[in-house]
C-alpha cells in the first residue's frame, strides 16, 4: 500500500514537473499568450509648439457710414468669384449706408498682395471681407 502511494506520488510529481515545464513553453510559443505581456515602446509623437498669441483689432461700433472692402482672393485665378458680387449687391440693397468696394487681389490665391493692403489702409478702409477659398 505504502509502495503504491509512493509510486502514485512519484507519478504525480513527475506529471507536475512535466506540466510545469510544458505550460510556460507553450506560452512562449503562443502569440496570443505573449500579447498579454506588457511592452514598453518609444513614443513617435512630436510636440507641436503653440504660436505666440496676437489679439484681434477692436471691431467697429457700426457699419453705417463706413467703407468696407470686399477682397476677392482670386481663388480660380481668372475673373474673380461671383459670390462676392452677390455680397456687394446684398449690402447695396439691405445696408445702403455702407460703402462697399470690390477688389480683385493680385496674383494667385496663395500670393500676397501688400500693395492692396496698403491701398485699403491709405483709402481709410474701415473693414475687410475676404473671400473665398476652398
Amino acid at each position: 500500500m505504502i509502495r503504491r502511494l509512493l509510486l502514485l506520488n512519484v507519478l504525480l510529481a513527475a506529471a507536475a514537473l512535466i506540466l510545469s515545464g510544458v505550460v510556460p513553453l507553450q506560452a512562449q510559443r503562443d502569440p496570443a499568450a505573449s500579447r498579454g505581456k506588457l511592452i514598453t515602446v518609444l513614443n513617435p509623437a512630436v510636440t507641436e509648439k503653440l504660436a505666440v498669441r496676437v489679439p484681434l483689432t477692436p471691431r467697429l461700433a457700426t457699419l453705417e457710414g463706413k467703407t468696407i472692402y470686399i477682397v476677392d482672393m482670386n481663388y480660380e485665378g481668372m475673373e474673380g468669384t461671383p459670390v462676392l458680387g452677390e455680397v456687394q449687391r446684398w449690402f447695396a440693397k439691405n445696408m445702403p449706408g455702407v460703402k462697399t468696394i470690390l477688389k480683385l487681389k493680385g496674383g494667385s490665391y496663395v500670393a500676397d498682395d501688400p500693395a492692396l493692403w496698403k491701398e485699403i489702409a491709405t483709402n481709410k478702409g474701415n473693414g475687410v471681407i475676404l473671400g473665398v477659398a476652398g
Binding site: R35, L42, P44, R53, L56, K118
Partner: protein, 446 residues
C-alpha cells in the same frame, strides 16, 4: 487666407472677416490658429462650390446660414466686423505650453499598443512593428547622426512648428518595418517635410538614385512600380507615417483632400534602373549635378499618372504618343515620364534621341493643347491665370487666343524629366505631370 487676414488685422488694424468653405474655416480656427498665426481670426463658413453655379444658387448661399455660428450668413458677416472682442480674442503673448510628449508610452500589451497607435493616427491602418528600445537602438546604428540631433522645426502643414529629431525618425522607421541600412534614405526623406498636400488629389513620388539602390536591394527592374521589393515598400510606407506623425497630417483636421489619391499608399517609391540606361542617357541625379557615385533622393509631386496601356507599336513612334498624352496632364508646365529601358533604347536607337534632354526638347516643342482645355484646369487657372493677367508670357498670350488655338503648354524643357525604370518585358511607360526640385543627398545621412 489666414495670412492675409492676419496682415490686415495686425499690421493695419483693420477688422477683417474671411469667407470660406468649411475645410479652410476649420483649419483657420483650429490648427492654424493654435500653431501658426496665434490669431483667433473670424470666419464665416459658406457652402461649396463658389463658381460654375447659377445666380439663384449664389443668392441661396447668402440667404442660408453661416456654417460656423449658425446665424443667417450676411448677419454673421456683419457681426464679425462689429461684435466686440471676447477675452479670448484679446489675448497676447506666449501661451502656457502644454506638457511635451513623453519619450516612452505607458507599458501595455501588444494588442492595446497596436490599437493605441491606430487611434492616435500614427499608422497607415496596417499593423506596425512596435518601436521597442532595442529595435530603435538597432535602427540608430544605420546612421552616424546622434539620436537627439534636430532634423527640422517647421515640419507641420503650412510650416507650423513641429520640431523632430533623428530618434523620432528611427522610431518611425522601426514602425514601418525598415532595416537599419534603409535608415539614411528615410532620414533624407524626413528632411523634405512638409510634403505637399491639397484638397485636390495630388500625390508624391520618391526617386532613389546612386549606389544605395543596390546596397539596400531596391527593385528598379521587373515589377519596379509594384509591391515587389521590401526596400521600396517599406521606405514608401515610412513616408506615409512621417506625413501623419511628424507633419501631423490628419484628414479632416489639418488636411482636407476630397478624394485623396491611391498613389499615396506607397508614394510611388522607386529607384532608377541606371544600369539599363542607353549610352548617353544620364541618371536623374547626375542631370541634377550630382556625381554618379552619390546616392540621392528626389521628391516629385503632381496629380496625373497616366498609363500608356500597351507596348510601343511599329506604326506610331513612342514620342508621338507621349506628346498626345500630355494633353490630359494638370498642365503645370511640368512632365515626368517613367519608361521601361526598352522604350529608352527604342527612343535612342530608332528615333535618334541621344539624351534625355533631347527628348525633353522635342516634347517641349511639340506638345500642344487647345487653350480652352488648358485654362479649364483649375490648378492652371488658379496659379498661372493671375500671372497672365499681370502680363507675364506665355500665359498672357495664351489668355488672348481663341479657346481652340493650340498652345505649347510645356514651354520649358528643363521641367520635363525622364526616369528609366523597369525590367524590359514590355515596352511600356507612364506619363505624369509630376515636378521636382533638386534632389537631396542620402550620403549626408549615413
Amino acid at each position: 487666407m489666414s495670412r492675409f487676414a492676419g496682415t490686415l488685422e495686425k499690421q493695419y488694424g483693420i477688422p477683417t472677416v474671411s469667407l470660406s468653405n468649411e475645410n479652410i474655416v476649420s483649419f483657420g480656427i483650429g490648427a492654424h490658429f493654435k500653431y501658426s498665426t496665434g490669431m483667433p481670426l473670424r470666419f464665416v463658413g459658406v457652402p461649396y462650390p463658389f463658381t460654375g453655379i447659377q445666380k439663384e444658387m449664389l443668392q441661396s448661399y447668402l440667404e442660408g446660414k453661416d456654417r460656423v455660428s449658425g446665424k443667417p450668413l450676411m448677419q454673421a458677416i456683419v457681426d464679425c466686423l462689429t461684435k466686440p472682442l471676447t477675452a479670448e480674442e484679446k489675448k497676447s503673448g506666449n501661451p502656457a505650453e502644454a506638457a511635451g510628449e513623453p519619450r516612452y508610452l505607458p507599458a501595455d500589451t501588444e494588442d492595446n499598443l497596436q490599437r493605441l497607435f491606430k487611434d492616435r493616427g500614427w499608422t497607415d491602418f496596417n499593423p506596425i512593428i512596435l518601436p521597442t528600445e532595442e529595435r530603435v537602438a538597432a535602427m540608430l546604428k544605420g546612421t552616424s547622426h546622434k539620436p537627439n540631433e534636430l532634423i527640422k522645426k517647421e515640419s507641420g502643414t503650412f510650416g507650423t512648428n513641429r520640431p523632430f529629431t533623428v530618434e523620432k525618425i528611427a522610431i518611425i522607421a522601426v514602425m514601418a518595418g525598415a532595416k537599419p541600412e534603409y535608415f539614411p534614405v528615410i532620414l533624407a526623406l524626413s528632411s523634405q517635410v512638409p510634403y505637399m498636400d491639397s484638397t485636390t488629389s495630388n500625390a508624391c513620388m520618391v526617386l532613389i538614385n546612386g549606389p544605395i539602390r543596390k546596397q539596400i536591394k531596391m527593385n528598379s527592374g521587373e515589377g519596379a512600380l509594384g509591391p515587389t521589393a521590401e526596400a521600396n515598400s517599406v521606405i514608401g510606407r515610412a513616408m506615409t507615417l512621417i506625413h501623419s506623425i511628424i507633419q501631423g497630417y490628419q484628414e479632416g483636421v489639418s488636411g482636407f483632400s476630397s478624394l485623396s489619391s491611391p498613389l499615396r499608399y506607397n508614394n510611388v517609391t522607386i529607384a532608377e534602373n541606371e544600369e539599363s540606361l542607353p549610352e548617353g542617357w544620364k541618371p536623374v541625379h547626375v542631370q541634377m549635378g550630382y556625381k554618379p557615385e552619390d546616392s540621392v533622393l528626389s521628391m516629385f509631386s503632381g496629380w496625373n499618372f497616366v498609363n500608356c496601356s500597351g507596348s510601343v507599336v511599329e506604326h506610331y513612334a513612342p514620342q508621338l504618343l507621349m506628346r498626345d498624352f500630355t494633353r490630359v496632364l494638370a498642365a503645370t508646365g511640368a512632365a515626368t515620364i517613367l519608361m521601361d529601358p526598352s522604350v529608352a533604347k527604342l527612343l535612342k536607337n530608332t528615333q535618334g534621341f541621344q539624351t534625355k534632354e533631347a527628348l525633353s526638347e522635342w516634347l517641349s516643342k511639340n506638345a500642344e493643347v487647345p487653350a480652352g482645355v488648358y485654362w479649364a484646369n483649375s490648378i492652371v487657372s488658379g496659379m498661372m491665370g493671375p500671372l497672365g493677367k499681370q502680363g507675364l508670357e506665355p500665359y498672357s498670350g495664351w489668355q488672348k487666343v481663341s479657346s481652340d488655338t493650340l498652345i505649347k503648354h510645356l514651354p520649358n524643357p528643363r521641367n520635363i524629366h525622364t526616369i528609366v525604370v523597369g525590367g524590359e518585358t514590355a515596352s511600356v511607360w507612364f506619363i505624369t505631370d509630376f515636378m521636382t526640385g533638386k534632389g537631396v543627398s542620402i550620403d549626408a545621412w549615413k
